[in-house]
């Protein structure tokens, strides 16, 4: 048997916990079903249906609609396209794509709730607390257990979304209009940061809650405003220069990491055990 020195991060232990948790989650229908259904609806069925409608809708009103002051920033990239592409690109590339950021938030919320509150509910947490793993490594493992699937599912969802959108739009575009730069940066850079930000808040909620239901309810109260903000602001992100999108992402990363650092310092097995 080998053990790391007390100060070093025990990556082997972290990998073991993450592996076990993800394996267990994959066998839980209550977790897997919503995590499969939500992306299927939001990122496949919805863009497919709306894309078909947009593809076949008359496009003569797009230019006048984009002329309004509210959508002035959106006008240039869209109006630069051939007329028949405008509506479908506008809808799929700019208006529906923010839904992608719902995914890291939702998956983080579900898995964070399972990470601690779920363990308490299943009465498996006590066993973990009696194992020789530091509080810091336990915290890191639980964060990664939610973070990695959230990012992986978001990226898979983005890939599906990209394929569906291009397939639906192909008859009018005749080219791959997704991913464009801002979309790619949003998916690869901002979505993981959003997942981290959500976890910075939710891990603490989960560790204090006694049941998964309680964690979900408390987590919902925390995460819903984030979902609204993400959905409302992402369209704007698609219009910013790539450097600005990267900067926004860096800001979200910084806030998420700061939250995790702060909450990680306050995270102890004593608090976990005392909370219920």
């Amino acid at each position: 048997m080998s053990h790391p020195s007390p100060r070093s991060v025990d990556w082997s232990a972290i990998r073991t916990i993450v592996g076990r948790d993800i394996r267990a989650v994959r066998r839980s229908k209550a977790i897997v079903l919503p995590m499969a259904l939500v992306p299927a609806v939001l990122l496949v069925a919805l863009p497919f249906g709306i894309g078909l409608i947009a593809r076949n809708a008359p496009t003569d009103q797009v230019q006048s609609a984009l002329g309004s002051s509210l959508l002035k920033n959106l006008a240039d990239p869209i109006l630069g396209l051939p007329e028949r592409e405008r509506l479908v690109v506008l809808v799929l590339g700019y208006l529906l794509s923010p839904l992608l950021l719902v995914l890291p938030l939702m998956v983080s919320a579900v898995l964070a709730a399972d990470a601690f509150a779920g363990e308490k509910e299943r009465r498996t947490l006590e066993v973990v607390l009696h194992l020789p793993i530091s509080d810091r490594d336990l915290f890191a493992a639980k964060v990664l257990t939610a973070f990695l699937p959230a990012v992986a599912l978001t990226w898979i969802g983005a890939l599906l979304y990209t394929v569906v959108c291009n397939v639906v739009a192909w008859p009018v575009t005749g080219r791959l209009f997704l991913p464009f730069s801002q979309f790619a940066v949003t998916v690869l850079w901002i979505a993981p940061a959003v997942a981290l930000l959500a976890l910075g808040l939710l891990v603490v909620v989960s560790s204090r809650a006694r049941t998964t239901q309680e964690a979900n309810q408390l987590g919902g109260a925390v995460i819903l405003p984030l979902i609204f903000v993400a959905a409302a602001q992402t369209s704007a992100l698609m219009l910013l220069p790539v450097v600005s999108v990267l900067a926004v992402g860096a800001l979200v990363w910084a806030v998420g990491l700061a939250l995790l650092w702060f909450n990680g310092r306050r995270f102890t097995r004593d608090r976990l055990a005392s909370a219920g």
């Binding site: 916990i17 267990a24 839980s28 009696h130 004593d270 055990a273």
Partner: protein, 361 residues
Amino acid sequence: MTAAIETEGLTRGFRSGLAVDGLTMRLEPGQVLALLGPNGAGKTTTVRLLDGVLVPHAGRSVVLGHDPVTEGDAVRRRTGVLTENAGLDDRLTSRENLLYVARLRGFDKAAAGRRVDELLERFGMLERADDLTGGFSTGQRKRVALARALIHDPELLFLDEPTSGLDPAGTRDVIALIDELAAEGRTVVLATHFLGEAGRLADRMAVLHKGRLRAFGAPDELAAQLWSGVGAEVDLGAPGDAATVAALGAVRGVRTAQVHLTGVRLVLDDREVLPRVVEAAVGRGLPVYGAVTRRPTLEDVYFAIERRIAAEEGEIGTDGFAGLPTPHDDLYAAPDTASGAAPVPASGPAPAPTAEPGRPS
């Protein structure tokens, strides 16, 4: 010799109040400690404090030479814990549940696999190794959980209610297993309120009540503090009548005599008195089917201590314990106390602490 466990004034509170209050005790390596007390007495909190899961608000402890507060991982590497609920993840198989813990305890993949199979076989669960534990009976879950607690061959075992929820056969199996583990020289802390199992296994007992340690020591030592003399029973095939009780009570060396269901119960100066009692009974023409001395069990000691605590805290009167049922009341309660001999409270084989002046209480 370094103690396996040493605590001094260990105290921990929650919002609801103190869970452990000034716990001071010492347990030597290889000893089996029965940590006894009613629900909420502080047993689980004590285990959590000793394993470094909770931080004490006052006091200190040393477990296997380490401070659980600052060297929690070092303590937990050498301890094994069976939690009251087996704590198995029902979404995993028994093998997966054990492999997970083995890997976290530093086994490499191959060694972990070998060790898990070895333990599953020892605990009779190898055939169920690849079944999800969600379908297991309570006994099977306990066995897998015990295997998990032993995976790293710990020097110190904390067993929290190891037989709760088990049927009689399951209880017998688990007791035998714990007996085996103790015989291997491990230090065992057995937190339980099942006194029968504790009595069979423990060579030290600690009684917690509302977080405070109310008694600590070897059951025999505690019994000696509670009662003097030797308890005995003479089986006459029927409750002894008043004249018989009086006659046997008058034998030299008999301290008290009392009628009970199959004859007479006595407290003697020492066991050498018993043949004289038998002789007296035979001399009166009574059939003597048996005569035995009876040492107080851990259960007797525990209930005597609990009654003393209840009396001290005013939960019952200090002048008697008749209102407080004990496991032996149905067997030993005197149907007729007007026997002429000094009465023995219906509390066990020997007088309860306040029954006679001058005895410690």
